[in-house]
Symmetry: C2
Subunit: 221 residues, 2 copies
């Protein structure tokens, strides 16, 4: 599959590299066509790796992944152009974290809406699927880094798009437990969880963690 | 110990009953001195159970527990009176959940502050300790309802107050794993988590759940 990864930061880099290793053709996109990080990545990854600007990348990908900073995602998608976003799945990994006042970050949007919803609203013909945003990039691509069972969350309006993403996450990335929270408004929950995630990161001293939902089984009631 | 439980809803009722069963003298407080739910509770619980208005309850308790709706907590504490809050530990269990637009609720305060911080700011001589707010009332008083290991979070500025609360939660309530997130500003994280909790509640079909933090051990790096 052709995948367009928007953003050349650590998250974009990790996901793009993992996807190349899985055999996909991947373009990593940035503001400029010849971004240095993109060029290094292309030369290290071989022939299935490509680079381009945001518009090139969005046009290239059958599946798109938003790994840009949440503060800039809407501007990036606008630069990419609505026409090549149309009809595609956009896996939204970003969080609207605002570090302008240092640590802890706040969210630039939250509570009664979410970044994922804003993207979905701006591009109604794109199938926005929110996932991976509750994890460090290392854990995204290697759930086995964290021992035992733990959960990945997914949100989106399009049931088939979520099923397709889940298949990739299960078979390609090794995610065993994926909890479908429901429509794209449930991304409010996972984005807001970052306010807890950042504090846990501080307390645990590592970003190599995740949460496992533990529930009482109905049988034992 | 004398405990003042503010609020006669299900959370206040559960915690007050548990505390009586542990041998504490407990007053459950509401707006009026002769609240019907309070009277029923007193007659069912025996001589260690008392009822009063918010001011009576705050004056009575050596330890105070805020189980009022988060939307009204500041007004309740104002009615209770600053003088009897002074110097005491206030265990804040409430969440600023606003259901005025139905489900899912939003938060009336979040992101750059939290209800716990607003309480701490309003009563600087009270030791506000935020905990239990990430759980259903059944799980608060009986962590064994949910199988296996799972975590309770605690936030607060006063280290000794947190230690005293932790002792009660461990020895009285049976909580094995309590994660100290840090000062009271970390309550932003646990309060915001309610935006995820409410969605999990919907998806899991039960409030009998909790999260367990799973992390990679440094040794295996």
């Amino acid at each position: 599959m052709k995948v367009g990864v928007l953003g050349t930061g650590v998250v974009g880099h990790s996901l793009a590299s993992k996807l190349v290793s899985l055999g996909h053709e991947v373009m990593m996109g940035s503001r400029t066509k010849d971004n240095e990080k993109g060029a290094e990545w292309v030369s290290s990854m071989g022939e299935r790796a490509h680079q381009g600007d945001f518009a090139d990348t969005t046009a290239f990908g059958e599946l798109l992944i938003n790994c840009t900073s949440g503060l800039h995602s809407l501007a990036v998608l606008e630069a990419a152009g609505a026409s090549s976003l149309k009809g595609k799945i956009l896996l939204d990994v970003s969080n609207p974290l605002d570090f302008s006042n240092g640590f802890p970050p706040s969210l630039s949007v939250c509570n009664t809406t979410s970044l994922a919803e804003q993207i979905q609203e701006a591009y109604p013909e794109t199938k926005v699927v929110k996932t991976f945003n509750t994890l460090s990039h290392e854990v995204m691509i290697d759930p086995g880094r964290v021992p035992g069972e733990h959960d990945l969350f997914i949100s989106g309006n399009d049931v088939e798009a979520k099923a397709e993403v889940c298949k990739l996450l299960r078979e390609g990335f090794g995610w065993q437990s994926i909890i479908d929270l429901g429509d794209i408004t449930t991304a409010r929950g996972t984005e807001a969880y970052l306010l807890l995630w950042t504090r846990l990161w501080g307390v645990l001293g590592t970003s190599d963690f995740n949460i496992k939902i533990v529930k009482r089984e109905k049988e034992s009631t």
